[in-house]
């Protein structure tokens, strides 16, 4: 029996020829990630292990991104703990404000995650790196501490589910729409404990940015990881970036899948997830009249160049509706700079948008765009749970960046075709 890409990567990191779904194995990790919310707890737990040194300082990344620039004194203290720990342990991949980005935009950009790697991150959206053909999964702080200490982690080999996408996408349809559509189909626990493997000609024709978006939201279906095989698009992305050699894996033709789903992409419209679950999706044509107070473009899901270009294309020469606040968050300093060079930031400012330094801030109702009671936002982020962006009686809708930009102009959730 053949193996899936997920099984092959896990087997290779467990020193095995073969693994089966359901087996409990211990795998070596290539990268361990933490942020300003999760790493302070991990550092406490690391101290309790009695170890004095992390297993390999080069294989740890610390990214203060959630409540930075420090939103209050407590957040400042949490960030200080990351900084001090990085210094103490000689961890080179610590990314300070001004040199950082939202972790899941930043690590691939820095070449720190590569095909065939096993990456463990104390952040649920660590699954983003599956877009490069890596096994990447989110864990909690104590698991992060364990991995920092031992350089390994125990995992149950997940059963794989195959998602095949074929056909040409319509105009204004991106990776975000494919993944929202899929989550709408299988539900928020439709892939719990499973590997979501994305393939098909539509995936091969998808930009790397859209691929990151899809893998990023695998966790919103409960998946352990989302993954797609590395191809020419991936290798091109890695050419100037990848730090060190890597191995490309792909699924065997006779690999075993718990389920196989096929989607004709040509039938998928831009999608909007309604409160309060990412699975609560409707095509844009069925949204109806929904006035909004705030639009957020950015996040680890959609804070990359493709997203900013799509938003700018819609916003060029237009103005944000007078009753709407549009907030734009480039995912990294590099994305910010590139957007500046391409003139996108000028388009945003002329359209009356506010542009922020990279931060997770508003996505989780942390800072930089918290909602008041009764307010409604459309965001390119990944979750729309109760209170996610602020007051428990506020609402978050999710969409791609083009729909978000069009909605900012119209003052209600709208298709880019309408502006």
């Amino acid at each position: 029996m053949g193996m899936t890409i997920t099984e092959k990567i896990l087997a290779a990191h467990a020193g095995r020829d073969h693994v089966e779904p359901g087996e409990l194995i211990t795998v070596k990790v290539d990268m361990v990630l933490g942020n300003d919310i999760t790493a302070p707890v991990a550092i406490d737990q690391f101290r309790k292990t009695g170890a004095s040194k992390v297993f390999d300082p080069n294989k740890i990344a610390l990214v203060p991104d959630h409540f930075v620039p420090n939103k209050d004194i407590k957040s400042a203290l949490q960030c200080a703990r990351l900084r001090e720990f990085a210094k103490e342990q000689g961890i080179p991949h610590y990314f300070e404000v001004g040199r950082m980005g939202i972790e899941h935009c930043l690590l691939p950009e820095q070449g720190l995650v590569r095909p065939g790697d096993v990456i463990i991150g104390a952040d649920s959206h660590t699954c983003t790196y599956g877009a490069l053909g890596a096994f990447a999964t989110g864990v909690g702080s104590t698991d992060m501490a364990a991995a920092m200490t031992l350089g390994e982690i125990w995992l149950k080999v997940p059963e794989s589910m195959k998602f095949v996408y074929f056909g040409r996408p319509r105009r204004w349809v991106y990776g975000k729409d494919l993944i929202l559509y899929t989550i709408g189909h299988i539900g928020v626990d439709g892939a719990t404990y499973k590997a979501m493997e994305f393939c098909g000609d539509s995936i091969e024709n998808l930009s790397i940015d859209s691929r990151f978006t899809m893998a990023n939201m695998a966790v919103e279906a409960g998946a352990k990881n989302g993954i797609m095989a590395a191809d020419e698009v991936t290798l091109e992305y890695l050419r100037e970036r990848a730090k060190g050699p890597y191995q490309v894996f792909e699924s065997d033709p006779d690999a075993n899948y718990g389920a196989v789903y096929e989607y004709d992409v040509s039938e998928i419209e831009p999608q909007v997830a309604f409160p309060h679950l990412p699975s609560n999706v409707k095509p844009i044509s069925e949204v109806g009249e929904l006035p909004i107070d705030q639009v957020v473009i950015g996040s680890c899901t959609n804070g990359r160049m493709e997203d900013l270009r799509a938003a700018a294309e819609v916003l060029r020469g237009r103005r944000v509706h007078p009753e709407v606040r549009l907030l734009v968050f480039p995912g990294t300093q590099q994305v910010y700079l590139q957007a500046m060079r391409e003139g996108l930031l000028e388009i945003f400012v002329e359209a009356d948008a506010a542009i922020s330094t990279p931060t997770c801030g508003p996505c989780l109702g942390g800072h930089m765009g918290v909602l008041a009671e009764g307010e409604r936002a459309l965001a390119t982020t990944n979750r729309n749970f109760v209170g996610r962006m602020g007051h428990p009686k506020s609402e978050v809708y999710l969409s791609n960046a083009a729909v978000a930009a069009a909605s900012a102009v119209k003052g209600r959730i709208a298709s880019p075709e309408e502006v």
Partner: protein, 166 residues
């Protein structure tokens, strides 16, 4: 080990933002987190919860973020056990790692009502509803995970592994 308490019943897909909203994640002090536990799902919870009480959820309990603050907050609030039809995977790991007992039992999740008094025998996975005179079975933990629990969590397990005294 047996625990005993009153049931706080929640629905399907209780997410980590409901368990502990991100606006309180600028601290990892368990007692502070406990003061806001379940705040956006049930405002009465944090002030009304008694030591030993039991949270019951439906499917996919703990979905969403990887914040370990979620099981930390529940544990610090005095909750002795969480019973659900199913758990989101990161929450499941985190609960074991911080020593919050959790039991997966679709039957108990279906039958238990708000306010029921329940005795839970964790080792056997037996849930006894003393208000209704019913018993439910939980799905036992795999042996490997039971070993981590027996060690008192993953940290003690590591201390053993790297040769520290537990």
């Amino acid at each position: 080990m047996a625990v005993k308490g009153r049931v706080w019943r929640f629905g399907d897909n209780v997410d980590t933002d409901a368990i502990i909203p991100a606006r309180y994640l600028h601290t990892s002090d368990p007692s502070e987190l406990a003061r806001h536990c379940m705040e956006d799902a049930d405002q009465r919870f944090a002030s009304g919860v008694q030591h030993g009480d039991i949270i019951v959820g439906g499917r996919n309990f703990g979905c969403g973020s990887s914040r370990e603050h979620a099981p930390m907050a529940i544990k610090a609030a005095g909750v002795s056990c969480v019973i659900a039809a199913s758990f989101a995977r990161i929450f499941f790991r985190n609960a074991l790692n911080v020593g919050l007992p959790i039991l997966e039992s679709p039957e108990a999740a279906r039958r238990l009502e708000d306010g029921d008094m329940v005795e839970v025998f964790l080792d056997e996975g037996l849930i006894r509803n003393t208000s209704r005179g019913e018993e439910y079975r939980a799905i036992p933990l795999p042996e490997f995970m039971q070993r981590i629990v027996d060690c008192g969590g993953i940290i003690n397990y590591i201390r053993e592994k790297i040769g520290m005294t537990p």
